[in-house]
Symmetry: C2
Subunit: 705 residues, 2 copies
C-alpha cells in the first residue's frame, strides 16, 4: 500500500519544469489550481449543457479542457446539472429565468449562483459560449460568482480582426512569421490552428475577421478563393465568428472583364450585385466588405471623380439584400493634395456625412496620421453624426518596435477612447462615438489589425498575446480599464502569484509610455526608417512622397522643431471642437505629450519641468532606455515563477528591446542635436557611435513589407 | 487514506485524450512505457555521465526528458552510476574499456551491459550523444542491450541537410511553411526551435547543415549575415552539427566589388581566401561551401571558359587552411547544349576526374534528370574513381506530391543505393561508391534536401517526418533496410501496438511505388506542371527551355511514347557500364520500371503481363489511385490508436492524396489517350472531366517557388 501511495505521489507531484510551454495556449492555459473553493471543483462534477450542435459541443469541450487543466479531472455531464447548468434563457424554468432581468441581446450572458447551482444563461448559443469562457476565467482567477452574478453585454456590435495577410502568406506589417491561412491547403485541409484561432477569439468576444489584406488582391473574390474562404467561414461559424473580405475597388475590371470600375456605371453596379450574390452562395452569413480605396496607390472612386460615399454605396447596395455591411476606411490621403496629411480624411469625409447607405460604417484609425506610438484622437470622431464611425486600432506593432518590443497597448487604446471630443459638450468621449451612444448610431464596430502569425506562440513576443487579448476586451467594452485587462491576462497566462503578477503588471502598464519615450516623446511623430519602419529614421527625406518622409513631420532646423498645426500654419486644429482648439492650441494648456504634434518650438522653449525643450526631450529618451533596461532586471528576478521556455524567450526579447531603445535614443538625439547645437543634459548618456553610423544601418529583408 | 489514494489514482490515470499532439516532438515522443523491463527503469535511478560542457548537459537533459516521458520519473544522477555509466572510452577502467574492441572513430559508440550496468562509451562526446539517443531508442522500442551490445560507427563522414531557404524566409521547393531561420531576429534571439532542430538531427546522426539555398544570395557571405550564421553555428555545435553556406560563384563581383569572378584571376583567388578567413573568424569549425554553378541561371566557371574543377578549386584552396571542404554540385546542364539533358553532367565531369583538390567532393543527385518519382541511378556514380562523389537525395517532395502526399522515401533511397554500377564488376553498388569503399575515397558524404519548415509539425505531413528520419539513418548507414527504418520510426513516433504498427508499416513501404504508379509508372518522367511542379502537366511544351517541358521527355505521338536513350537516339546508356547497357538497352531484360526511361515504344508494345503498353500504363495509374483510396480506409480503422490531432491531420492529407492521385490518373490518361487512340482497359475508371478541364486548372500561389 505504501509503495502504491509513494508511486502515485511521485506521479502526481512531478514538477513540470521540463515541460516546454511554447505559448500556443495563449491565455487559455488552464493551469492547475491549488486552493480552489468547493464550487470551482463542483461545477465539473455535475454539469449540464442544454441543446446540441457544434457550438454546444465546443462549450462542453471547453469545460473538459478546463477541468483537466485545473484539476486533472474529467467533467461529468449529468441529467440534473445540479452544480452547473448552461442553458438558453428560454430553456430555464421561470424562477431561474426571472433572475435574469436585463435584456441580454444576441451576445450577452448572465452567470449567477442559484443556491449552489451555477447558471450560465443567454439568449443564444454564442452568448452561452461567451458565458462559459467567462465562468472558466472566473475559476482560473479564483473569483466568485455571486447570487446576483455577472451580466455582460457587448457595447459594440461588430468586433473584428483585420488580417493584412496576402495570398502568398506574407503579412503586411506582420512580425510573427507568416499568415496562418494556408490558402494552398484550403479548402480541403482544415487545420486545427484555424479552430484554435476561432476559439481564442471567442474567448475574448471577437466576432468577426477580415482575412485578407486591405491592400487587396481581386483574386480573393474569384471562386477559386471563395471556396477557400467558405471553408474558413465554416470553421469559424460555431465560434460566433463571421468572415469579411477585402474588396479591391477595381475588381470589376480585374476579374470581371469590365472596362471601368466607376461606381455610377450600371454595369459595375450589376457586377457587384452579382458578385455579392455569388459570395453569399458560398458563405450565407458573410459579414461584408472591408475596403481601402484612394489610399497609398489603391484604386477608388477618385479615379472616376466620385466621392467616397458613391464608392462605398455601390458595394453596400450589393450586400444589403443579404444582410452584409461595408467597412469603408477613412485612411484616404494623397500626395497630390497640398494640405497637411493630418487634415485630408476629415476634409474628404465630413462633407459627405449622411450620404452613405445605412449598411456602411466608416473605419477610422485612432489618429490622423498612421498608428504612431502616440497620436491625438482622429478629428473625424465626433464630426460625422450622420454616419456610423468605427475605430481601427493597430495591434501589430508597425511603429512600436515590431516583434521584439514589449508595448502593452491597452493603455494606448484606453487613452484614445477616453479623450473628450467635446462635440456635444464635455463628456463626449471617443468611446461614446464608437459605442454609438453619442450620435445614436444604428451600427457599431471596432477593428484591430491583427498581430497573429505562424510563430509558435502566435504573436512573436509572448507579451504581444496580451494585445490581442486587450483588443478583444476593449472591443467588447471600450470602457474597460487597462489595469484590469493586464491583471487578468497575466493571471490567466502565467500565474496568480502576486510576486510575479505585481511587477509584471507594472512593467506592462508602463511599457507603452516607455516606448513613446525612447521613440517619439512630446508629440514627435513619423521619424522611423523608410519603408520597413524598423528603427529610427529622423533623417528620412526626399523620395517618392514628401508625406512619407520624417522631415515633413518634424521640421527640425536651428530654429527648433515640431509640426505647427495651429492657425499659423496647417491649422489642423480647426478640425477639433473649439474647446480642444483652445486647449491644444495654447502653449500653456496643451498637454506636453502632444506638444510637438501641434506646435513648432525653439530648442530653448521652456517646459513645465523647468528644462528647455532640448534637454527635456533628451531626458525622455534616456528615461525610455532606462526603463527598458530595468525591465530586463525585473524579468530576471522572476525566473522561478515562469517556465523556462517562456522565460528565456521573453528575456531574449527584452534584451533586444533595451538595445534598440538605445539605438533609437542615440540616433534621434544625434540627428536633432545637429540642429539644437546643444550638449546633452546631465543624466543622458553619450551615443556609442556617430550619426553616420546610425544613418548607414541598412537592415536586409526586414519582415512585414 | 482511501480518499487520498482515490485522488492520486484519479490524477495518475487520467487519459490523455484531450492532450493535443501537434507532432512537434517528432520521433522523440518519449511516450509512457508499460511493461518495461527492470533495466529500462533502473538506468534512470542511478546514472552517471562523465565530463562537462554543453554536449554533456544535453546528454543529461535527454535522459531527464526520456525518464519523465517514459516513466513520469526524475533521473537520479549519482557518483556510482551503477546502473548507467556514460563515459569516454579513455575514462573507463581497463576491464570495461577492453570490452570495446572496435575502433569507434570520431563518432561511433558502443553500448553494452556489464553485469547489470549499462555502459555507453565512445571516443568523443558526440559519440556519447549518439549512443545516448540510441540507448533511449532501445528503451522506447523495448529492445535489449546485450552483453556484447550495440556498436555503431557511421559509414559516411559528412551527413548533411541542404536547406533551400532564402533570406526572406521563403523556401524553394518547401511545402511545410517557411524557413525556420528567422534571420531578422538572429543573432540576438536564439529560438528554442533551433536547439530542437539540432537535437532532432543529432538523434538520427546528421552532423552538418547547409542553411541557405543553392540558388544563392551572395549577401549571406557579408558580415551582416555571417554574424547570424555564427549564432546558428554556436547553437548547433554542442549537438555535433557543423554549418555550411552556399556560395554564389559571382560573389567576388556582387559583394567584393571585383570586375570578374574568373577563378583563375589572382584577385578573385585572393578574395575567396580573405573571405574564407573572415568566415572562419566567425565560425572556427565552419564546414565549408556548397555550390550550384553553371546551372539553371546560376553563374559559374563556364562564364569564364573554365572547368568545374577550376571553379571548385578556387573555393577549395580558400577553405583548405581551415579544414573546410567544398561540396560542388554536378547538377550542371544547359539549354545551349544540344545533347540529352540526361548526359550532360557526365560529359562535363568525367573528363575532369582527378582534377579537383582533395577537399572537394562532387555532389550528385540520385538520378540524372532531377529527383523524379523514380530514376535509374546517376551514371556519374562509379564513373569518377579519382574524385570523391557524394549522394544528393531530395527529402522535400518537389516531384512527389508536395506536402500532402504520403510517400515514404526510404525504399526509393534504398533502391538507388542498392543498384549495381558494375564498374568494378558485379557487386559495385552505388552504396559502395558513396561510402568510399569502391574507389577508396578519402572523403565521404551524403546530402538531403530538407523538408523542414515552420509548420507546427516541421514537415507539413506528419508522415514526412519519417523521410527526415530515414535520410538520417541512411546517411549514417547506407545499407540500412527500409523496413527497419519504418518500423522504428512508427514505434518511436506513435506506438508499439502491432495493430497499428503493421498496417502503417505496410502503407509506408508501399507508398513510394503507389505514387510512382499514379504519377509516372514504367519509366515515364518529367510530366508535371510547369514551374511549381504541382499536379500533372504532360501537355507542358514550348516556353523558355525545351528541357523544362514534358514533351521533351515523353515524346508521345500516335507511334508511341518514351525517351529513346539507346544507341538509336541519345545513347545516354553508353554512360553506364557495359553490363547495364546490355541489360537496360534490351527490351527483354530492361526492368519495366525503367522501360520508357530508355525506350520509345509503340502503344501496343507487348508487356510481360500480356497487356499492351497502353493498357499496362493505364492499369498502373488505376492501381496507384486504388491504393491511395485504400490508405484512407486503412487509416480510419486506426482511429483509436492515435491521438485525435494527428489522426485528423493525417486523414485529411490522405484524402487529398486520393483525390490528387485521381487527378493525375485522369489528366495523364486523357492526354496520352489522344495519341494511343485506344479505350481504357477494363478496371480503369473513366475520367470525371475532359482533358481541357485538367489543362485549364491553374493553381495560384503554389508554395515552393
Amino acid at each position: 500500500m505504501y509503495r502504491l501511495i509513494n508511486l502515485l505521489l511521485a506521479l502526481a507531484l512531478l514538477p513540470l519544469t521540463l515541460q516546454a510551454n511554447d505559448g500556443y495556449k495563449l491565455w487559455l492555459q488552464y493551469y492547475p489550481i491549488e486552493n480552489a473553493e468547493d464550487w470551482m471543483t463542483d461545477v465539473f462534477t455535475d454539469a449540464k449543457v442544454n441543446g446540441s450542435g457544434e457550438t454546444i459541443s465546443i462549450i462542453k469541450n471547453e469545460l473538459e479542457l478546463a477541468s483537466e487543466g485545473f484539476f486533472n479531472k474529467k467533467t461529468s455531464f449529468t441529467e440534473s446539472g445540479s452544480k452547473l447548468w448552461i442553458a438558453l434563457k428560454s430553456e430555464l424554468p421561470a424562477n431561474l429565468a426571472s433572475r435574469s432581468t436585463e435584456d441580454l441581446g444576441e451576445e450577452g450572458y448572465h452567470i449567477f449562483n442559484a443556491n449552489g447551482q451555477v447558471i450560465v444563461t443567454a439568449n443564444t448559443q454564442f452568448g452561452l459560449l461567451y458565458g462559459t469562457f467567462r465562468l472558466l476565467q472566473q475559476i482560473q482567477l479564483l473569483e466568485p460568482i455571486s447570487e446576483h452574478g455577472i451580466v455582460e453585454i457587448p457595447k459594440i456590435q461588430k468586433r473584428v480582426l483585420n488580417h493584412w495577410d496576402n495570398l502568398n502568406r506574407t503579412v503586411e506589417r506582420g512580425y510573427s512569421g507568416f499568415s496562418i491561412w494556408n490558402w494552398h491547403r484550403l479548402p480541403r485541409h482544415i487545420d486545427q490552428q484555424y479552430l484554435d484561432y476561432a476559439r481564442a477569439n471567442a474567448s475574448v468576444g471577437i466576432n468577426g475577421t477580415a482575412i485578407t489584406n486591405v491592400n487587396a488582391n481581386a483574386l480573393v473574390l474569384t471562386p477559386y478563393y471563395l471556396e477557400k474562404a467558405q471553408a474558413l467561414a465554416n470553421a469559424f461559424r460555431p465560434y460566433g465568428i463571421k468572415v469579411y473580405l477585402t474588396a479591391r475597388f477595381s475588381s470589376p475590371m480585374e476579374i470581371g472583364g469590365l472596362k471601368t470600375a466607376d461606381p455610377l456605371d450600371p454595369e459595375v453596379q450589376q457586377w457587384w450585385k452579382d458578385k455579392a450574390k455569388e459570395i453569399y452562395d458560398y458563405i450565407p452569413d458573410f459579414g461584408g466588405f472591408l475596403v481601402k480605396a484612394d489610399s497609398e496607390g489603391q484604386p477608388g472612386p477618385h479615379n472616376y471623380g466620385r466621392t467616397q460615399a458613391e464608392g462605398a454605396n455601390v458595394l453596400a447596395d450589393a450586400v444589403k439584400p443579404f444582410g452584409g455591411i461595408v467597412m469603408w476606411r477613412a485612411f484616404v490621403y494623397s500626395e497630390h493634395t497640398p494640405d497637411d496629411r493630418h487634415k485630408q480624411a476629415y476634409n474628404e469625409f465630413v462633407p459627405i456625412d449622411g450620404k452613405f447607405r445605412d449598411n456602411v460604417i466608416v473605419q477610422v484609425k485612432n489618429g490622423a496620421i498612421d498608428f504612431q506610438p502616440r497620436e491625438p484622437f482622429h478629428p473625424l470622431f465626433g464630426a460625422m453624426p450622420e454616419t456610423p464611425l468605427m475605430m481601427e486600432f493597430q495591434i501589430t506593432q508597425e511603429y512600436l518596435g515590431h516583434d521584439t518590443h514589449l508595448a502593452f497597448l491597452a493603455p494606448m487604446y484606453e487613452e484614445v477612447l477616453k479623450e473628450d471630443t467635446y462635440v456635444n459638450g464635455e463628456g463626449s468621449e471617443v468611446a461614446k462615438v464608437i459605442d454609438g451612444s453619442l450620435h445614436d448610431y444604428s451600427m457599431t464596430a471596432m477593428a484591430g489589425v491583427a498581430n497573429i502569425g505562424t510563430d509558435r506562440n502566435w504573436t512573436g513576443h509572448h507579451f504581444h498575446q496580451a494585445n490581442w487579448y486587450a483588443y478583444g476586451k476593449l472591443a467588447w467594452n471600450p470602457y474597460e480599464r487597462s489595469e484590469r485587462i493586464a491583471l487578468d491576462w497575466i493571471k490567466l497566462t502565467f500565474t496568480s502569484d502576486p510576486d510575479f503578477v505585481n511587477p509584471v503588471k507594472e512593467m506592462m502598464l508602463r511599457s507603452h509610455e516607455m516606448v513613446v519615450n525612447y521613440m517619439t516623446p512630446l508629440g514627435i511623430h513619423h521619424i522611423m526608417a523608410r519603408s520597413h519602419h524598423y528603427g529610427p529614421g529622423p533623417w528620412v527625406t526626399g523620395g517618392e512622397r514628401a508625406d512619407w518622409t520624417s522631415t515633413y513631420y518634424h521640421n527640425a532646423s536651428e530654429k527648433g522643431m515640431g509640426f505647427d498645426r495651429t492657425r499659423a500654419r496647417s491649422n489642423a486644429l480647426e478640425q477639433y471642437a473649439p474647446e480642444l482648439q483652445e486647449k491644444w492650441g495654447n502653449l500653456e494648456t496643451v498637454p506636453e505629450k502632444f506638444l510637438l504634434w501641434f506646435h513648432h518650438l525653439p530648442w530653448d522653449h521652456q517646459m513645465k519641468s523647468g528644462n528647455i525643450l532640448w534637454d527635456e526631450m533628451a531626458l525622455h529618451y534616456q528615461k525610455g532606455v532606462d526603463e527598458a533596461r530595468q525591465n530586463v532586471k525585473t524579468w530576471k528576478k522572476l525566473e522561478n515563477h515562469v517556465d523556462r521556455y517562456r522565460y528565456e524567450h521573453v528575456l531574449s526579447f527584452l534584451k533586444i528591446q533595451a538595445e534598440e531603445a538605445q539605438w533609437w535614443r542615440d540616433a534621434v538625439l544625434l540627428y536633432f542635436g545637429q540642429f539644437s547645437n546643444r550638449p546633452l543634459p546631465e543624466g543622458v548618456e553619450s551615443p556609442e557611435h556617430d550619426l553616420e553610423y546610425y544613418m548607414n544601418i541598412n537592415h536586409k529583408f526586414v519582415p512585414g513589407i
